[in-house]
Symmetry: C2
């Protein structure tokens, strides 16, 4: 049975402590108006009755539910998981709870979950949106006047309304390509990432700009961003582009897949065939060989986004329309090993 035992309310507490409900409310809000002695009486009464604060009721009157919505396009990808958990924990630490939803890259589903979050009275939404016809979600957010931030992927142009923050993918593409070049690679391929998406385009732009400077021919194999795609590409590269001696992957999933594909076909990875990933997920350091990767410090990014959004909420400090956080290159054996 879970029939409720009727939770004590602010009024029960007031009665027990011999004060008015208004006073109890003030105590709840840590108001300096209430006398220290009274405060502690009230606190005692709350403890004795096992009082729990009812945010729904509070919200009804003052609307700040302490709920933040987090909408993620692919929560199964460790990159996003790490982002979501670090964000959630940072919010938790500041007294907010997170409603998290995975949209599986489905715009319709995304619109639904955003709608649901609005119903639940979230105070803000942080969204790594799907591509495609994703207008519904943003329209709903706009209509409801809920502060919303785009992260990791800029899929909606209205950055004045929905500010964007993400890693500097372009610079990452540059760094990685320059590194491979420096290591002596002569034919560098770019593998993975769906064509036409900003996240792909930016990385590729970095890659292309560096190649151009050194007058090398690009080899581009866009596609899904999954491990299995990466794995397939090992064979395909060997067959169709045997000259390629280095690969910049769209993300670590692709890179790890490629690594495993190379093991499968018996191709050594290191000095003769270099692989660089993107994102630097935790796992990158644990693969064999350990994966060189563009580090976005996704955990730190999550924390900082939490700060940004709460600042927006609490101090009405709107974030800049576009923020790019710096990236670095973690050089490991996959691009730099005797083989």
């Amino acid at each position: 049975m879970h029939d409720v035992v009727r939770r004590p309310t602010i009024i029960d507490v007031a009665k027990k402590a011999g004060v008015s409900k208004s006073t109890v409310s003030l105590v709840l809000q840590n108001s300096p108006l209430v006398r220290a002695e009274t405060r502690s009486h009230v606190r005692e009464a709350m403890a004795e009755l096992g009082y729990v604060y009812n945010r729904a009721a509070a919200n009804l009157r003052s609307s700040n539910a302490g709920l933040i919505g987090l909408v993620i396009n692919d929560l199964r990808n460790p990159f996003f998981t790490q982002f979501a958990t670090s964000l959630q924990m940072a919010l938790s630490a500041r007294g907010y709870a997170a409603v998290i939803a995975n949209t599986d890259e489905d715009p319709t589903l995304q619109a639904q979950v955003v709608e649901a979050m609005i119903e639940h009275g979230v105070s803000a939404v942080i969204i790594s949106s799907t591509y495609g016809e994703n207008g519904g979600a943003f329209e709903a957010l706009g209509r409801a006047g809920i502060p919303a931030m785009q992260v990791l992927r800029k899929t909606n142009a209205h950055v004045e309304t929905f500010p964007f923050a993400g890693p500097d993918y372009l610079e990452g593409g540059r760094l990685a390509t320059a590194h491979l070049l420096e290591q002596g690679a002569k034919h560098i391929a770019f593998v993975g990432g769906l064509q036409g998406r900003d996240v792909t385009r930016e990385r590729m732009e970095g890659y292309l700009s560096v190649l151009q400077e050194s007058e090398l021919e690009p080899v581009v194999l866009t596609g899904r961003s999954s491990r299995s795609f990466g794995r397939e590409m090992a064979r395909r590269l060997e067959k169709e582009h045997p000259e390629v001696d280095a690969v910049l992957c769209f993300n670590d999933q692709v890179a790890l897949g490629l690594l495993s594909g190379c093991a499968e076909i018996g191709r050594r990875v290191g000095r003769t065939f270099r692989i660089v990933g993107f994102d630097d997920i935790e796992e990158a350091a644990e693969s064999w060989p350990p994966l060189t990767s563009v580090r976005c410090d996704i955990a730190g990014f999550g924390q900082s986004i939490a700060g940004t959004v709460l600042d927006w909420l609490e101090n009405d400090k709107m974030p800049a329309p576009e923020t790019r956080t710096p990236v670095t290159l973690m050089v490991r054996d996959s691009s730099n090993r005797d083989s």
Copy 2:
């Protein structure tokens, strides 16, 4: 600016549609009491005004927030991520939202987030709890009279109050060990998993029982359940237990780490050194060699838990105190390949 434009309420809708707020409320609840024609008028008015349902207000009166709390000990582990996402999506599909929190195996943090969830008025909690002094969370749940289910890990003995559901770890341990034996392994080790924890004990029990039948000596190396631990164990096994020709790992993280450790020290994995993982996370099929693993169908499990909890909530159908879901063995090359 995010100053609200005052959202239309049920009363605005009523005025617009020329009915009373009670009628609008009935429409909202799809009550058969209201005439079809009236219903569509009201619906139109809602659409025109851009009305959004305020669950906080509704909850205040009737207390079913449509919010489910999901507490996870290690959300960065893909096994739990896959569980959480499949559960969340199943809840979403039935009109519930999920408040998800990661506790990072910290009982104090866990108590905090559970408390926060209760404040937010969750209708139920699904918890894969930390070990250790985790009483606080359960006590709070009990006091609040909130239906709560333990999943994946049974850390609280009061299964009458907090029913448990999880995979049949014991059977998994048995299956895997029997498989290795069948393949001709002579010295099978068990690697990973913290000692003394139910989840470890059960798997190990399966392992030990099968070994006993065939009068083989067990080799047990418990420890963390991380990739890096698995990776370290490759070296350690080679040095301290060179006779070992097969390993059953506590989970896939350990197994994948071990796989990468073997690559590191140049030990071939397959017929001469067999590895079996546990959980069958998505990645297991993509490693090289592909990892044999005990499949818990975690995505299916997540969905079924969603069903169980909503059944409890909506139809007052309390789940059995303990449910074990069957496991199967996915045989892949890591235990069965020419090497």
